[in-house]
């Protein structure tokens, strides 16, 4: 094999990782200081948290096709497990953050596995409802002062651990003494979140290209066929739930650590549903799509802010002021509406999410760019989900032989 320059995609990845590695220091450099500040570091830290959480959700919903509206409940469980361990220790011993987060991940993973069992009998909207029930029930349970069993005989004061309605306030995380001069609190947190996030992303990427990942996709695309091919349906469905629980638990644990505060209201129904919206916008069954989904979650508020500012600056609206039922000032209060319209337009024209759009652009790129890739029809073709399938090359070959009119998506 002759040595050539690394391919552009590899270069891009290296560049991306390099930026991720030095990001919290960038704002101290002359050029970057004009648009970066410690708050951006916080936002990107949040991005890392969302990335972990959404990777789990995308494994479950995107890859194996199990819709979960209650994913935030799993995140909350992870957050509480880690928070309780960090604030109260375990059997009288202090628990280091890494152990607490890992324990949160494993506990939530186990919980996910258990939740997977009843989910075996449900699919589609029915599964959505069942998972939705989790996010309705959990905050109320977390708010309980105590739980009684056997007719008041046994009374467990759970608020002693969970803090009840008040939630748990943790000590603000500090960098270790030896590194105190090198990193600020914010930068330390960034690395504490970003290192696991990169590891988990690599894990997810590997996983989706393994036997397990292919089994997930097979289950999603054709359950019966998958079963006939020898995929153990029960095991893989429960594994999907367990894995997404693992990711949710680690993400939740890091969330509690990063915020130093967790309360039953932190993860509510709207957050849970927005998470599903985010992975669809980013791109289902795509690690890259999940990256965009996490960006969406981290910068969503800012995007809405910018949109409502933008709308106020449209001059024609101020001319219309007397005729509209609202004044331009009211657009502050119509933020939800302002942001739902682009959302709808986007999902109509880019059902594959951002990742789908990028593949589409990639497919239409000049041939030198296409070199080494599976051949797909050009610009005019709709996005064909090839990248989302178990064996993209084989499927592309099959699709090519078919009449283009038949190409329907699942």
């Amino acid at each position: 094999m002759t040595r050539t320059l690394p391919r552009p995609s590899v270069l891009g990845l290296i560049l991306l990782l390099a930026v991720v590695a030095i990001f919290p220091y960038l704002y101290t450099w002359p050029f970057f200081s004009s648009f970066l500040d410690p708050f951006r570091t916080f936002q990107v830290t949040r991005f890392g948290l969302w990335l972990i959480i959404l990777l789990g959700l995308n494994l479950l919903t995107g890859y194996s096709g199990q819709i979960s509206l209650g994913h935030a409940a799993l995140v909350a469980v992870g957050a509480y497990v880690a928070a309780v361990l960090m604030s109260q220790g375990f059997m009288g011993h202090d628990v280091p953050i890494a152990v607490a987060v890992l324990a949160a991940g494993l506990f939530t993973g186990a919980l996910g596995f258990a939740l997977g069992a009843p989910a075996l009998r449900l699919s589609g909207p029915y599964l959505a409802i069942a998972t939705f029930a989790m996010i309705i029930a959990l905050p109320q349970i977390l708010k309980l002062e105590s739980i009684s069993f056997a007719g008041q005989e046994i009374n467990v004061n759970i608020a002693r651990w969970t803090g009840g309605v008040q939630g748990l306030l943790l000590d603000r995380p500090k960098p270790p003494e030896s590194l105190k001069d090198l990193v600020t609190e914010r930068q330390w947190l960034y690395y504490e979140v970003m290192v696991p996030a990169v590891i988990m992303a690599a894990m997810a990427w590997n996983l989706t290209r393994s036997r397990i990942g292919r089994a997930f996709v097979a289950i999603r695309d054709a359950e019966v066929a998958a079963e006939h091919m020898g995929v153990n349906m029960a095991l893989y469905k429960m594994t999907a739930f367990a894995l997404s629980g693992l990711f949710a638990g680690v993400g939740g644990g890091l969330f509690a650590y990063n915020e130093a505060f967790i309360s039953p209201d932190s993860f509510e129904i709207i957050k849970s549903i927005t998470m599903v919206v985010a992975i669809v916008l980013g791109g289902l069954a795509s690690i890259m799509g999940t990256v965009f989904a996490a960006l969406f979650m981290a910068f969503q508020n800012e995007i809405v802010d910018a949109l409502s500012r933008l709308i106020r600056q449209i001059p024609s609206l101020s001319i219309l002021e007397g005729y509209l039922p609202t004044t331009a000032n009211d657009f502050e209060k119509l933020r939800g509406a302002v942001y739902s319209i682009p959302l709808m337009i986007f999902i109509i024209f880019a059902p594959g999410g951002v990742a789908g759009l990028i593949h589409q652009v990639g497919d239409a790129a000049p041939t030198w760019w296409q070199k080494g890739r599976s051949r797909v029809t050009g610009w005019a073709s709709t996005f064909k989900l090839t990248r989302r399938r178990a064996e993209p090359d084989a499927e592309a070959a099959v699709e090519e032989r078919q009449d283009p009119e038949d190409e329907t998506r699942h």
Partner: protein, 439 residues
């Protein structure tokens, strides 16, 4: 492994880079004050630059629910605050400095409040946070503000923990639920001793705190709690809870709820269940929206407590000024008890800024707030007093009830002022009555 990496990742990298650049560059360029996130106490006054303060501007911020949650009904409070700050700006500002007021939307969610407040502090570089609303969201940020030395002025919430223990940088806006609960308990004991009590509580710290205070107040009486129902913060309709309350057959109901569910309670009891049980509610409910939602007829006779004048007292010069300010600077927002409360908070903030003097620092602001004495705001029935050990501006309450579709006060005000002032009352805005002339 890397060999199989899709080229699309390069595109992705470029796109992400572009997005980051866009979102960073597209932001507001006005608040470019570099913020040093130094911990409290390490700042050396004098030569050091004060965050959010220039010779011409003071940047203030707050967090409010503006969307995604029923609590967005509170948004007019922020409108009232903005209107008053604009009014002050039109008068030349405070020592020549105009006030810039930034409202962040926290959706009444603690996690979002964290993001919004950090943005305000670290990116917008606010000088102080004013009137941040909501016990649940604020609980997620108050330690952060305290540790970073950001003044946390006049929180729109009443948890006891805002001022107990006392933090130098934190001030309360509402009377705390502890004192309010004692007052409501006093009313119950005087009128319903020996009877059965039913509770409707918001299922969070607000409801829990209120319940504790009321139970504390009635513990020596013969009042028996026969039912306790809760609702979630995302809920408006409490008909089911009301039905269960009725099944327990209490003689009186006490509700620690925000206006919409409280209105639902009243409406369900009167209209759906034809149940004329007396209802007592927390002072949080004393708003126009409660009466509108419940219907004036249903709300008739509901009892609560209040700590200031109200928007219906249209003969009052202070209330008239409120109307004028909202007309001139409200951008079309209707005056209500919410805007009135917002104006009260903003007014108190401006007073603290004035007391702080021309050399404004965070320290001098707190000194300025602590030195507010015998001060009558536009709608204060009694003067406001604060001190280094007293960070609660509102330490009086008076009973009120709904009469002919309006909240009307009754009985003598109950005062638990911990900072004795010289004035004994308020004649009007900035017109304290002193003992000698009052007699």
């Amino acid at each position: 492994m890397l060999r199989r990496f899709p080229r699309a990742f390069l595109l992705a990298a470029i796109l992400i880079g572009g997005l980051v650049l866009l979102s960073c560059g597209g932001g507001e360029k006005t608040a470019e004050t570099p913020v040093t996130t130094q911990p409290a106490g390490t700042s050396t006054p004098g030569a050091e630059k004060v965050p959010g303060v220039t010779d011409t501007e003071i940047v203030l911020g707050t967090h409010f629910p503006l969307s995604q949650n029923p609590a967005a009904a509170y948004a007019p409070i922020a409108d009232g605050m903005r209107a008053y700050f604009e009014y002050v700006n039109s008068q030349g500002g405070v020592y020549g400095r105009k006030i810039k007021f930034i409202v962040g939307d926290d959706h009444f969610n603690p996690a979002d409040a964290v993001e919004v407040v950090r943005k305000l502090v670290e990116q917008d570089g606010i000088f102080a946070l004013v009137g941040g609303l909501g016990d649940a969201p604020h609980a997620a940020v108050y330690k952060y503000l305290e540790e970073n030395g950001v003044p946390d002025m006049f929180i729109s919430g009443g948890l006891d923990k805002w001022t107990e223990p006392l933090a130098r940088t934190r001030f309360q806006g509402n009377p705390n639920y502890g004192t309010e609960g004692r007052m409501l308990a006093k009313y119950l004991v005087e009128n319903y001793n020996g009877k059965k009590l039913g509770l409707l509580l918001e299922n969070d710290e607000f409801g829990e705190n209120g319940k504790k205070a009321v139970l504390e107040g009635i513990k020596d009486s013969d009042i028996k709690v026969v039912a306790e129902e809760r609702y979630e913060t995302t809920q408006w309709d409490v008909t089911a809870q009301t039905q269960r309350l009725k099944a327990a057959n209490p003689d009186v109901i006490l509700a620690y709820a925000v206006p919409p569910p409280a209105a639902s309670l009243v409406k369900a009891a009167r209209e759906t269940l034809h149940w004329d049980v007396p209802i007592v509610v927390t002072g949080v409910v004393v708003t126009d929206i409660f009466i509108q939602l419940a219907g004036a007829q249903n709300a008739e006779g509901v009892v609560s407590v209040v700590f200031g004048k109200q928007i219906y007292q249209t003969d009052d010069p202070g209330v008239q000024r409120n109307f004028q300010i909202m007309k001139d600077f409200g951008h079309g927002v209707e005056p209500s008890n919410f805007t009135l409360y917002g104006i009260f908070i903003a007014e108190m903030m401006v007073k603290a800024l004035e007391n702080a003097g021309p050399n404004l620092t965070r320290d001098s602001l707190i000194d300025g707030a602590e030195s507010i004495r015998d001060w009558c705001c536009l709608t204060c029935p009694l003067p406001v007093n604060m001190s280094p050990t007293d960070h609660r501006p509102c330490e009086m309450e008076v009973y009120n009830k709904v009469e002919n579709g309006k909240w009307v006060t009754f009985g003598e005000p109950v005062i638990f002022e911990s900072t004795p002032g010289k004035a004994i009352g308020c004649k009007g805005p900035d017109e304290p009555i002193y003992a000698s002339e009052g007699e």
